[in-house]
Amino acid sequence: MAFLIYALLNTIFVILISPLFVSLIKKVKAYMQGRQGPQLLQTYYSLLKLLRKERVYSSNTSLIIRITPYINVVCIIVASLFVPVVFIPGMTAGFGNVILFLYLLVCAKFFMALAGLDAGSTFGGMGSSREMTFSAVIEPVIIIVFAALGLLLQTTNLYQMFATSLQSSLLINPSTLLISLSLFIILIVETSRIPVDNPETHLELTMIHEAMLLEYSGPDLAMMEMSHAVKQTLLMAVLINVLFPWGLTASPNVLSVPVSIIAFMAKGVVLATAVGVFESLFAKSRLFRLPNLFMLAFFFSFSTILFELLK
């Protein structure tokens, strides 16, 4: 029963807050470029607008592109149960398993890439090919980061990880800092941001993620945008909960849950600003230079493992 309350609260909160972070990053980037930028609620308005539009399907498409938005939203929402932000629930069969969490994200990506090929457009295929390539190359980094976290916190369950990091002050630990660097790179890669991908253009040379979304319209596009935004919040939450868990509570009551929610919003705003600044400081990197960036993240996380094993 406690878990059901957690599930409802956590899901609704994550869904409501995600578009805000998306607009915030855009706003920060706009300020860095000397522009006003969109207002903070713009992403909500766009999503509502899309819900009212009609769906247009290409005559080449099959059922894949029709089911993909649903599969994406479902996988990401179920994955969101694995990353507590309102309070840390007790252990429940299977929830919190880090491998399952990662593979739910892969599942969403798998269908998005398939749907990219569905319409037979040149852009969609290009997007799927690049997306699957880079998701394959980043995968060892992700696993090693979570293995390093597991080594540091002695568990492979996300709930326990956060609970442990809540009790001990990990910020002063050099290993945590190294891991958070890798986690930040993963956040950039997985949310398709500069220098990996440019979320703002629809230009053949730069796009990866957007290329796969070209064929969606109306409510389908809204679902894809929404799941992308929620995914970004989840990855941000993993970084926040490991590095700055303060405010998150393991013993929920009427007082601690709102504190936890407000604390997460504050930390999320800071991280989103950091992401926006980071994006503004870099240029889009050449496609085949990207594995270097991944190797950097791999190096950070693997050196964490070496430190921990040999100390």
């Binding site: 539009k53 769906r55 290409s58 649903y70 398939l114 457009s121 040149t122 696993i143």
Partner: protein, 647 residues
């Protein structure tokens, strides 16, 4: 009761072979169908038999024929053997059903009859191999299995490609028998018995020699790198139902041999585990990397089998390492993960080969560049292939995910081992394992996307139709098994007495379904339901055609580029220019060539050496009479000297 099941299953399968190949000449299609139906029934009998033993954890033994005390043809089925009998009979059931439709598409009447007869003997030999309780029976079945499978690979014997594949397969399979025989003789030498029983009081050196020889023997059959080269050849040349059996089941029989000897017979040393882990990791990674570049769908699946055998070996290696340190819980997790992946791979790979067979039948080609858009004309086949691909790509909540999760889980806890170097090795192994798994997902996005999505790339693909019901029913059983084993994995293991630290996929599956229902309901209420069909957006180009789609080669190009040192690709661009300043070119030709590393660096040098050596020997024969007399004289002298020396 169990005797009855076992014997009647055996008799039916053997009877079908006799009827199809010897007793009835020129049997009709109806007769063949009856034979296949009988085989299906026999497999169901074996399935019931094996499930009974697996659930009750009992032991069944049966003596078929006994010449002397040591020379006997006898069987003993314990839980492990029954588990593999279950794998074989489950996959065979589905393949028999599929063959009801598939067999009629190819070859002459005699050829079809022979194929059905051989298939029956092939399944029987695998079942008996797994059940054997001594090495003689095991070797006999091993050879029967090898020869029947060779004959079936040669089904299309007039094609040059098939002849080459068949020869390659035959040589490799006999090589594996040689190593096995050596290992078994070594065991007989130290124990004086052919029984498959624990080896006690044998020196570590002797055990290591036996292990290496058996590992090579079973490894060749399982397709472990670098002994893997026969798989892509044999699987692509044989009929698809046979590929499904060979890749789904025959490869697993070799895994059975390995597990049987490692767990029950030899008491393994730690370095064996490390060696198996390294072989497993590299088979898995290179297997999927080679699979990625394939344009031939059956070769792609064959390379993916090599990858999955690598995953299974990784699990076995982890088991041996954890066992040697005394971490029994983790060792059990790794071994069950490996064995469960064996079952899962058997299921989804036979599903993929069966659906591929349907596609190849309809389009008449194995080249995926000539397919496309097939899901619209073959919806059932397409969805079934998709389920196989999802399971293979290890996506939750399907079965492939659960077994990979177990191996991941075992890997992630390897920090409890004391030795720091081994720990670092295991973490490196973990990262390569993750890369393998992600590349497998990418590989099957390519396979499914290029075959089934977008628009047809050739006239044949445009004319394709959905296949007959039997060819859908066979893979459908496997697809249902994929979902069932995934969702109920935790419950099944609990019922069998293993409580493993894995998520309960039934709960996760339920959550997924409930979320889907909620999302659908909410979208139904809040979104605009209007739909419209229009053209694909093409940057303003109005007449898009299938030539503008992404191709398989295009899809795999970034991976090919990143892993260039492994593929050893050579890119050649030739241009001819209109002007001297080379600013405007007239024509150009670009090609990417991949280098067959294993074939050109390992197989061919050995083959050339053997050929040179045998040419030298045969040159010795081609001489005059007096030289022959000289040979005899030299032989007599050497003989006399040797006798004087030893006696």
């Amino acid at each position: 009761m169990m005797n009855l099941l076992f014997v009647s299953g055996l008799c039916v399968l053997f009877g079908v072979t006799l009827l199809q190949t010897v007793l009835v000449t020129g049997a009709s299609a109806v007769f063949r169908r009856c034979s296949l139906a009988a085989m299906l029934g026999a497999n169901l009998l074996f399935l019931a038999f094996s499930l009974n033993i697996v659930l009750r954890n009992s032991i069944f033994s049966f003596n078929l024929y006994q010449l002397t005390d040591t020379l006997r043809f006898s069987f003993a089925v314990d839980r492990l053997a029954a588990y593999f009998i279950m794998i074989i009979s489950l996959v065979s059931t589905s393949v028999c059903l599929y063959s009801l439709g598939y067999v009629e598409h190819h070859g002459t009447n005699t050829g079809k009859n022979f194929l059905v007869g051989m298939m029956s003997l092939f399944i029987l030999s695998m079942l008996l191999l797994v059940a054997s309780d001594n090495t003689l029976a095991l070797l006999f079945c091993w050879e029967t299995m090898s020869i029947t499978s060779f004959l079936m690979v040669m089904f299309d014997r007039d094609k040059a490609e098939t002849q080459k594949s068949g020869l390659f397969y035959f040589v490799m399979t006999q090589l594996s028998t040689v190593f096995l025989m050596f290992g078994f003789i070594a065991i007989y030498h130290v124990t004086g018995s052919f029984a498959i029983a624990p080896l006690s009081s044998v020196s570590l050196l002797m055990k290591s020699v036996i292990f290496l020889s058996l590992f090579t023997g079973f490894g060749i059959k399982a397709g472990v790198m670098p002994f893997h080269k026969w798989l892509p050849y044999a699987h692509s040349a044989s009929p698809s139902n046979i590929s499904a059996l060979m890749s789904g089941v025959m490869v697993k029989v070799a895994i059975y041999g390995l597990v049987r000897y490692l767990v029950f017979v030899l008491s393994p040393d730690r370095w064996w585990g490390v060696m198996i882990l390294i072989f497993g990791t590299f088979s898995a990674l290179l297997g999927v990397i080679y699979a990625f570049k394939e344009q031939d769908i059956k070769k792609l699946l064959a390379y993916s089998s090599i990858e999955n055998v690598g995953v299974i070996l990784t699990g076995i290696g982890l088991y041996l390492i954890f066992q040697s340190y005394g971490f029994t819980d983790l060792a059990t997790l790794a071994l069950i993960g490996a064995l469960f992946h064996t079952l899962n791979h058997a299921i989804f790979k036979s599903l993929l080969f069966q659906t591929t067979g349907a596609v190849v039948n309809e389009t008449g080609t194995r080249d995926i560049e000539k397919m496309g858009g097939l899901i619209k004309v073959m919806p059932y086949t397409g969805v079934l292939f998709l389920i196989g691909a999802i399971s293979l790509a290890a996506l939750p909540p399907f079965n492939g995910f659960v077994s990979e999760l177990m191996i991941f889980q075992a890997f992630l806890q390897s920090f409890i081992i004391g030795n720091p170097f081994l720990k670092i090795l295991l973490f490196l192994g973990l990262s390569l394992f993750a890369l393998t798994s992600a590349l497998a997902a990418a590989c099957f996005v390519k396979a499914f996307g290029v075959i089934f999505l977008a628009t047809p790339r050739s006239e044949e693909a445009r004319k394709a139709k959905e296949v007959s019901p039997a060819m859908i029913a066979g893979p459908m059983i496997m697809a249902a098994a994929c979902l069932f084993l995934g969702i109920f994995s935790f419950r099944i293991f609990s019922a069998l007495g293993f409580t493993l630290p894995i998520p309960d996929m039934a709960v996760i599956g339920l959550t997924l379904v409930v979320t889907l229902a909620l999302v659908w309901l909410i979208m139904r209420l809040v979104s605009n339901p209007t739909k419209r069909t229009s053209e694909t957006w093409g940057c303003g180009i109005t007449s898009q055609n299938s030539k503008m789609e992404y191709t398989a080669a295009g899809f795999s190009e970034p991976i090919l580029k990143i892993f260039r040192p492994i593929y050893r690709t050579q890119e050649k661009v030739e241009r001819t220019y209109n002007n001297a300043g080379k600013s405007n070119f007239k024509a150009a030709k670009a090609e990417i060539q991949t280098f067959k590393l294993f074939e050109e660096r390992i197989y061919l040098p050995i083959a050339h050496f053997v050929q040179r050596f045998s040419t030298y020997i045969s040159d010795l024969h081609d001489v005059d009479l007096d030289t022959y007399i000289l040979y005899s004289f030299a032989a007599v002298v050497i003989l006399i000297l040797a006798i004087g020396w030893f006696v």
